[in-house]
């Protein structure tokens, strides 16, 4: 991770016309931007396209970046907004994890058990509203701080804390229902 000073120096050089320096910023934050987009749109190729668009937008508006926040915070917000508007416009058909589960019956038992757990949690997450889904998924990625999740969602830290707490409760309830239903069908 580069320091704030190094980041500001890079931005100064980019604004002075050294465009190739932007590649360093892209390399630094591409995984973060891609992950945020992926958590919103699910589809990998769409997420990559969104992250690229966000970096291009950030470059073109870099002179408007006021440096009161870190570049990453500003960039994540651009990625978030780009992904949300992309999702609204295209109403993406997300990959159905449950179908994947049905289509692959020849798995080893342990792998099947592990995947089942993931499928159940994924199914329960889908029952949450979009903001809760994103907050809880980003919260569990250790590279994102609670402050960063709050910033990119445009909410204060305490609101996001409460949101995540409630989302976990709802998720647990949904999961309980799903597991009960699964047990009955066995």
């Amino acid at each position: 991770m580069i320091t704030l000073e190094e980041e500001n120096r890079l931005i100064d050089r980019i604004l002075a016309g050294e465009e190739r320096c932007y590649a360093e910023l892209v390399d630094q934050y591409k995984s973060y931007a891609y992950t945020i987009a992926l958590k919103i749109v699910i589809d990998k190729s769409e997420a990559e396209e969104i992250a690229q668009d966000a970096f291009v937008k950030a470059f073109n508006y870099l002179k408007n970046f006021n440096r009161q926040a870190r570049f990453s915070t500003w960039l994540y917000r651009i990625v978030f907004n780009t992904a949300i508007s992309h999702k609204r416009k295209n109403k993406l058909i997300t990959e159905n994890i449950e179908n994947k589960h049905v289509e692959n019956p020849e798995r080893a038992d342990s792998a099947m058990e592990r995947d089942d757990k993931q499928v159940f949690v994924a199914r329960a997450i889908k029952k949450l509203n979009e903001a809760d889904q994103l907050a809880i998924q980003l919260f569990y990625i250790k590279e994102f701080s609670l402050e960063e999740v709050a910033d990119l969602m445009g909410q204060n830290v305490n609101t996001v804390k409460v949101r995540i707490h409630r989302a976990r409760q709802r998720l647990a309830e949904e999961l309980k229902g799903i597991l009960k239903k699964e047990a009955l069908t066995l």
Binding site: E19, R20, Y22, A23, V26, D27, K30, S31, Y32, Y34, T35, L38, A47, E48, E49, A51, Q52, D53, F55, V56, K57, F59, N60, K89, N90, K91, K117, Q118, F120, V121, I136, Q137, Y140, I141, K142, E143, L146, K161, I164, H165, R168, Q169, L171, A172, E173, L175, K176, L179
Partner: protein, 138 residues
């Protein structure tokens, strides 16, 4: 964050276990290169989704077809309204003007049809052609 005290312990454990594996995802290896290549091509801001664009386009095609049929059957041939300028104040500038301006309903409709066709082409370009070729290029 503290764990909530409730009766969902097992489920919360499972959530922690599964979501605890969440990690940063990596984009393709040529990601940075592709961003650098496209730095000066700002993404096209289309306010219409392809679906809405195509629906609007279909509407425009239907409108042009109806107008063409109506013009062809001569519905507007008899519609020749005039704009009266008699109520204008009698000043130097208006003295030389004709007191009425004749209008042809048929030619107004021809104009509307042409305008619709031009708008339909622009819409077709924005919602279908440009996104299609941009996708192919990328």
């Amino acid at each position: 964050m503290e764990r909530p005290a409730d009766n969902h312990d097992e489920e919360l454990k499972l959530i922690e276990k599964v979501l605890g594996k969440n990690k940063l995802e990596s984009p393709s290896s040529n990601f940075t290169h592709r961003v650098m290549v496209n730095l000066h091509s700002m993404p096209v801001a289309s306010s219409l989704s392809p679906r809405n664009g195509i629906l609007l386009l279909c509407g425009m095609v239907v409108a042009v077809t109806i107008l063409t049929i109506l013009v062809g059957t001569g519905v507007f041939d008899a519609a020749n309204p005039t704009i009266s300028l008699e109520k204008l104040p009698d000043v130097e500038i208006t003295k030389d003007l004709q007191k009425t301006i004749p209008l042809s309903g048929k030619w107004i409709m021809h104009g509307l049809i042409m305008l619709n066709i031009v708008l339909a082409f622009i819409l077709f370009d924005r919602t279908v052609l440009r996104p299609f070729f941009n996708r192919r290029l990328s």
